[in-house]
């Protein structure tokens, strides 16, 4: 090994490469050979002529017959294998009109419109990605509504969940073998969309598309992956001109080879080997299912009192407006202000400011008669399930009724707007997370009386 001493400093590298060629170096089976690595092959031939052993001859790409050191490895560079996956498949429950709240960690189901995807670089070179969020195309039959105002964020602090630190909007560089999560936020349409309102179980497929880019995107401060600007989209290297068995091929430069698989399935149609991969997540409507009913019953009339009263002039009619959230609903309905329910009185009726109960006899079934009992300053409210027209179970708590914006303290005058403050009536506590929530399976009824003119 004397020759080592007389040569340039690169002989150490020479020895190392030789060792690798001889199989003395080991490599993890999991890691792909890095882009740009030279693959070298050299065969060595020993022979004899006339019984005399000759000096071995090493191969060369074009042939070599000079014994000893004249051979040359047949060499080519490992190209850049652009291979990656986008995975989704999550189903996230949302309500109509729900907006994606940027910077807010989803702490409970239905609390934000965050969809989560994972992008994995399974190629052999660091890779940037340009991210695009959109409604699934082609539209699948199960894809019945389209969210809007998509916003895409990369898991900048790499903690696996969306939070305020996740400000990156692209992937500047993702190492081979590494994965990162990507989040999409959007706004769910209101439930009045045409042709049909959104109901529980309606779904929207949302596609995250990742396009392979170079690593020139600007990293977000503190992140080794997430970027604030996109890199330049990659293009696959065209086949070398004159590529054939004898030459013309591009073996000494690193080509870009797209190797990612196609994405097909519900709402997905992305071909293989185009430098693009995509996956869908699903929004699932899980909302309150409100019904509003309005029933009337005759409380009393001036002729028969409360015995089989008839709907005649002077009779007191009780209206019961019931708002219910179905037992199978996916979410509470919040009825707190400014949510409002309004009811315009028929011109042939007069509001009963004292809300007569009808307990008195016939001659007193008149709003102005002192003998009528007063109950609830014109309104009462109930949260039980009375039969239509039956007396409400609960009187309105103080402050639950507002007249022209102020608490009702006396019988309301005609012509005013009466408001029911459900936040007061349905205070937070127990199963009720937010004041004014009407939980699934709950209902509330507003009662008031009118006199037939």
């Amino acid at each position: 090994m004397k020759w080592l001493k007389s040569k340039s400093p690169s002989k150490l590298a020479t020895l190392m490469v030789s060792a690798a060629v001889l199989g003395l170096a080991s490599q993890s089976a999991a890691a792909l050979t890095a882009s740009g690595t030279a693959i070298n092959n050299t065969a060595s031939l020993t022979y004899s002529v006339g019984g005399s052993t000759q000096t071995p001859i090493a191969s060369a790409p074009g042939g070599n017959s000079i014994a000893g050191t004249a051979g040359a490895p047949t060499s080519f560079l490992v190209d850049k294998k652009v291979d990656f996956t986008v995975t989704g498949g999550a189903i996230v429950n949302v309500q109509p009109n729900q907006a994606g709240v940027v910077g807010t960690t989803p702490i409970a189901a239905n609390s934000n419109t965050v969809l989560t995807y994972t992008i994995s670089n399974i190629g052999n070179d660091p890779q940037g990605f340009i991210l695009t969020a959109g409604n699934a195309s082609p539209v699948d039959p199960t894809d019945v509504f389209d969210p809007t105002l998509f916003q895409t964020f990369v898991d900048t602090n790499n903690n696996g969940v969306y939070d305020a630190a996740d400000t990156g909007t692209s992937i500047a560089t993702l190492a081979p073998g590494a994965s990162v999560k990507v989040f999409i936020l959007s706004t769910i349409p209101a439930n009045s969309i045409v042709p049909a309102p959104l109901v529980n179980g309606n779904q929207a497929l949302v596609t995250l598309t990742a396009q392979a880019a170079d690593t020139t995107g600007t990293l977000v401060g503190g992140s080794t992956v997430a970027g604030s600007t996109n890199g330049v989209a990659l293009a696959a290297t065209a086949a070398a001109a004159g590529s054939n068995a004898t030459g013309g091929a591009n073996v000494s430069t690193v080509d870009i080879v797209f190797a990612e698989v196609a994405n097909a399935g519900l709402g997905l149609a992305n071909p293989a080997n185009n430098g693009i991969a995509a996956a869908n997540d699903t929004y699932n409507i899980q909302t309150a299912m409100l019904t509003v009913t309005k029933l009337s019953s005759v409380v009393c009339d001036p002729v028969t009192g409360n015995v089989a009263p008839n709907n005649i002039p002077g009779a007191a009619i009780q209206w019961a407006i019931t708002i219910s959230n179905a037992a199978g609903a996916g979410a509470p309905a919040n009825l707190a202000l400014p949510t409002a329910i309004s009811d315009i009185l028929d011109v042939n009726t007069t509001f009963d400011p004292n809300k007569v109960t009808g307990a008195a006899v016939a001659p007193f079934c008149l709003g102005t008669t002192a003998f009528n009992a007063i109950n609830g300053l014109g309104f009462t409210l109930g949260t039980a399930a009375p039969a239509p027209g039956a007396a409400p179970a609960t009187a309105a708590p103080a402050g639950a009724l507002l007249l022209n914006g102020a608490a009702v303290t006396a019988a309301p005058a005609a012509g005013g707007t009466v408001t029911v403050d459900f936040a007061t009536l349905l205070p937070a506590g127990g199963a009720r997370v937010t004041a004014g929530d009407l939980n699934p399976g709950e209902f509330i009824t507003v009662y008031f009386n009118v006199f037939v003119n």
């Binding site: 071995p56 490895p73 013309g248």
Partner: protein, 165 residues
């Protein structure tokens, strides 16, 4: 790039040669040895039909199978005997089982860096489950022992496939 390849080649040959011979001179031998690397590619021929062609290893990425072909030709005036071709499996590649070929050659493999060679069924490794046949991925070298004399002007060809890791 070209320079570093030269050094690689110098070191490799020196090391290989050093194993069998204490010294050597750079003289003309009587056999010409060539080695090429090719990959299979689906191409559309002049007839418009697709077929598989062997092309240089242009688009070669991890997972690509590369066909290494070594040819040898007797350019001397006398027949050559005892021809043996020793080919280390290139670094970052893995030998593809059953791919080595060579007419009139006995093909053996090494799993110890070229120190010893044997047929696949005789290459054993010790594992927790006892002695087992070595996997082709563990091969480090291939050796073809040409069983005939190579007459002047005659040629031979041997080869194998390896997959880029």
């Amino acid at each position: 790039m070209q320079m570093s390849r030269m050094f690689v080649s110098v070191g490799l040959v020196a090391l290989l040669a050093g194993m069998s011979l204490p010294s050597f001179a750079a003289t003309n031998g009587s056999i010409k040895v060539a080695s090429i690397a090719q990959i299979e590619k689906e191409v559309v021929g002049a007839d418009g039909k697709k077929h598989i062609a062997l092309v240089p290893a242009d688009k070669a990425v991890p997972g690509t199978a590369v066909l290494f072909t070594n040819t040898f030709e007797n350019i001397g005036s006398k027949a050559a005997g005892n021809i043996a071709i020793n080919n280390p499996i290139p670094a970052n590649t893995e030998y593809q089982a059953g791919s080595a070929y060579g007419a009139d050659s006995e093909i053996t493999f090494s799993i110890d860096g070229g120190k010893t060679f044997a047929a696949p069924e005789n290459l054993k490794v010790k594992t927790a489950q006892g002695e087992q046949m070595a996997k082709p991925s563990a091969y480090t070298h291939i050796r073809w022992s040409y069983q005939k004399q190579l007459a002047p002007g005659a040629t031979g060809e041997v080869g194998f496939r390896a997959v880029i890791k």
